[in-house]
């Protein structure tokens, strides 16, 4: 039974943890505002509720302690300070570990006792974080309504006071206790306003952690009389009576407007965010996408049948078939788009993880970094979002660790102390492009050459031949690392080539642009979706192969004479650029066949730094194809990314371009 809800719980958990992450960061950056504290409180409260319902005792305990502390902050007993924020972050990390535990085996192995103790201790600390003296308590702004009441009371010759009442911590049903105090005050004079609002305590279940209420009171008593009267009430621990400052009433009006604005804003915002959504498991969406894929295949087959029929017959029924087929094509493409959209998520999900990570990293490394995130709402397939996370994190770590310099160093080179890291996403020609750009030191091509040379990745001759651009691209070679010391943040020397192969496995491309002394920009191009791609159908001998369109830079036709040889390697010269050439036949041990024509079709694949010209027999055309894995019994085959079913019902292999380039 519970396992059914487990998934829902995990989803909610993920959401709420992310929310907490954001909110704590906000708390750190913007300081204590009512809304932020409230948001965090709500997140902790939600988690407490659901984890208790699921029987995750540790998580309940931890969130309970967080909630308690937050409540102290909310009721202004505790002030938000650096240590408190650190503590919240620690607790959050602890919660994340618990989340991992639950995801793994439903059992909790993480020890939370330290974290819980820290939280409890913090709540007890009566030191400078606590607002022990009511004197520096900020007095809440008064609403216009209340201001009028204050004026009225003053006109009647009544004294207006702020009465701050604290009650004993061991008091039970605190809300009701305040209610009694309130009703007593009402008998003595008039309560114009209270913080928190007494009438609302009734509704709020958290009333039980309330320790202090401020009343705006108007009455005939002197402040001393009032003080004594209130102090005599049951379970009242501390009373402070202060006369209302005169200018208060004037100031209040400004405060009012702000307050009423924020109140007006809130409900409308909430309504908007309540766009109707349902949660659907990814499996179902995957299945749907698969079915659409099958439809695409079947449609190409219908198309094929239609074409063969056309060659043999003519007639009305054929005309009809063609119309139906066209209509079907339209519907399938709409369907495909809808399903694809359903699988898309804004990249925000991923980007939201970064602020925290960057905060922690820059703190550890003593760097001052401003993060600029753009294009949060760019959508892409959710599997892609998951897959791209690791490579992106790696790039970001590199940028912070090796890219952006220490503040002192930056000052020496005439830059601002604060480094900037930009992470942007955008749609460009049916692809998603992600930029990770820093304004740090950049990459020195000369150093790259030397480092590669000393590690034996390239020979001295090669080093000479490399252009600066090519030298920078050495960073993607396996076993390359220029960092003089290996930190635990980045620089194990396996990083960048893995980043590249990860991205290429997603049918993506990565490119790098750098200016020594000015910064580095990584550009990642990704297809919108993984399941259906556009492929170029090519013929080798009599077999059809497919090259993913996203890998193709261009297609050229050359003559036999254009092929040159450098050290045994066939190359072609294209716009003054030397591009190595391979016969795709050789990759798959197919006979090359007779060269009947005097020109050769070349498909140029790869990105700027590493291009390869693939010679094929014939170009058939491009088509939408559905990637199917080869099946577990075949396993991973070098140079083959998968297979698909063509219109004629035959299976065609999809070429894995990165595999071929790296050979």
């Amino acid at each position: 039974m519970l396992s059914e809800y487990r998934e829902v719980f995990l989803e909610e958990l993920e959401e709420q943890l992310q929310l907490m992450d954001d909110v704590i960061l906000q708390l750190e950056q913007e300081g204590e505002t009512e809304r932020v504290v409230q948001d965090l409180f709500r997140a902790a409260h939600t988690l407490k509720g659901s984890s208790a319902a699921m029987g995750y005792e540790e998580m309940k305990q931890l969130t309970h302690e967080m909630e308690h502390l937050l409540d102290l902050v909310r009721s202004r007993v505790l002030r938000v300070t650096g240590p408190l924020i650190d503590l919240f972050f620690q607790s959050l990390d602890c919660l994340k570990e618990l989340q991992q535990d639950i995801m793994r085996n439903n059992e909790t192995i993480t020890d939370i006792s330290k974290c819980v103790r820290d939280l409890q201790d913090f709540g007890k600390l009566p030191d400078e974080q606590a607002y022990n003296d009511a004197e520096d308590l900020p007095k809440p702004a008064l609403s216009l309504d209340t201001t009028l009441k204050v004026k009225e009371a003053e006109d009647q010759g009544l004294e207006v006071y702020w009465v701050t009442v604290q009650i004993a911590a061991d008091c039970v049903i605190k809300g009701a206790r305040f209610y009694v105090i309130h009703s007593n005050l009402c008998h003595l004079g008039e309560v114009l306003y209270s913080v928190p609002d007494i009438d609302k305590i009734e509704v709020e279940e958290q009333g039980d952690t309330l320790l202090e209420v401020q009343f705006l009171y108007a009455g005939k008593q002197s402040s001393q009389e009032l003080q004594d009267l209130v102090a005599a009430l049951t379970e009242v621990e501390h009373v402070k009576v202060e006369a209302l400052p005169v200018e208060r009433a004037v100031l209040a009006e400004i405060g009012t407007r702000k307050q009423s604005e924020s109140i007006n804003e809130d409900p409308s915002n909430r309504d908007k965010s309540k766009t109707q959504t349902i949660r659907v498991s990814v499996e179902r969406l995957d299945h749907l996408m698969n079915l659409v894929g099958e439809l695409v295949i079947d449609h190409t087959r219908i198309d094929q049948v239609e074409r063969t029929q056309r060659r043999q017959f003519t007639g009305d029924s054929l005309e009809e078939l063609s119309q139906i087929s066209d209509h079907l094509a339209r519907i399938i493409s709409d369907l495909q788009e809808s399903v694809m959209k359903a699988r898309m998520l804004p990249i925000e999900q991923l980007f939201n993880r970064f602020p925290r990570m960057i905060r922690d990293l820059s703190r550890d490394l003593g760097k001052d970094i401003e993060l600029v995130i753009g294009g949060k709402d760019t959508e892409l397939d959710r599997t892609l979002i998951e897959e791209i996370a690791d490579p992106l994190i790696h790039l970001i770590r590199n940028a912070i660790d090796h890219g952006i310099e220490l503040p002192q160093q930056r000052e020496l080179s005439g830059k601002q102390r604060k480094g900037t890291l930009q992470i942007r996403a955008a749609h460009e020609d049916n692809q998603v492009v992600i930029y990770v750009e820093d304004d740090g030191a950049g990459i020195n091509p000369e150093r790259m050459r030397q480092s590669a040379l000393s590690k034996g990745i390239i020979s001295a001759e090669e080093a000479m031949l490399l252009s600066d651009r090519e030298a920078v691209h050495l960073i993607f070679r396996p076993g390359f690392s220029t960092a003089s010391s290996v930190s635990d943040i980045s620089g194990r020397g396996v990083g960048m080539d893995i980043v590249r192969s990860n991205i290429e496995n997603l049918n993506g491309l990565i490119d790098i642009e750098t200016r020594w002394g000015h910064g580095t920009c990584f550009k990642i191009k990704l297809p919108l979706t993984l399941a259906i791609i556009i492929g170029l159908l090519v013929k080798l001998n009599d077999q059809t192969f497919i090259i993913p369109m996203s890998n193709i830079a261009e297609i050229v036709r050359i003559t036999q004479g254009d092929i040159q040889t450098i050290r045994g390697q066939s190359v072609i010269l294209l716009r003054d650029e030397i591009i190595p050439m391979v016969w795709l036949h050789d990759q798959f041990n197919l006979p090359r066949g007779e060269q009947k024509k005097d020109h050769i079709q070349l498909v140029i694949v790869g990105s700027a730094e590493k291009r390869l010209a693939l010679a094929v027999d014939e170009l058939i055309g491009n088509q939408e194809i559905v990637i199917k894995s080869l099946g577990s019994y075949v396993g991973k085959v070098d140079g083959i990314a998968g297979s698909t079913i063509l219109g004629n019902g035959k299976v065609a292999l999809i070429i894995e371009v990165s595999g071929i380039i790296n050979q």
Binding site: G175, Y179, L233, T234
Partner: protein, 108 residues
Amino acid sequence: MRMMLRDILEKGGHTIVGEAENGKVAIEKHKSLSPDVTTMDITMPVMEGIEAVKHIKAADPKAKIIMCSAMGQQNMVIQAIQAGAQEFVIKPFHSERILISINKVLGA
């Protein structure tokens, strides 16, 4: 319940003039006895405490009533206070607390 309360109050030097087993009886007894102070449970058969408070206050606006409540009945307590009760005490009873409350209500 009532026995416990009687015990505590009598030890504190108060006199119990009457006891009622439900809200309805409480209203009648309050009329005939006009006590200095009444303790009232929230949950009672026939007529609930809050209802009884309303009736008693309607008949005698100066009546002093202390609610006896269990933990977690916050909203009930607030309602009772809105209805006119002056104080509340929480079960389980601590004799000192109850006596303090009674004396405060009597003194006020």
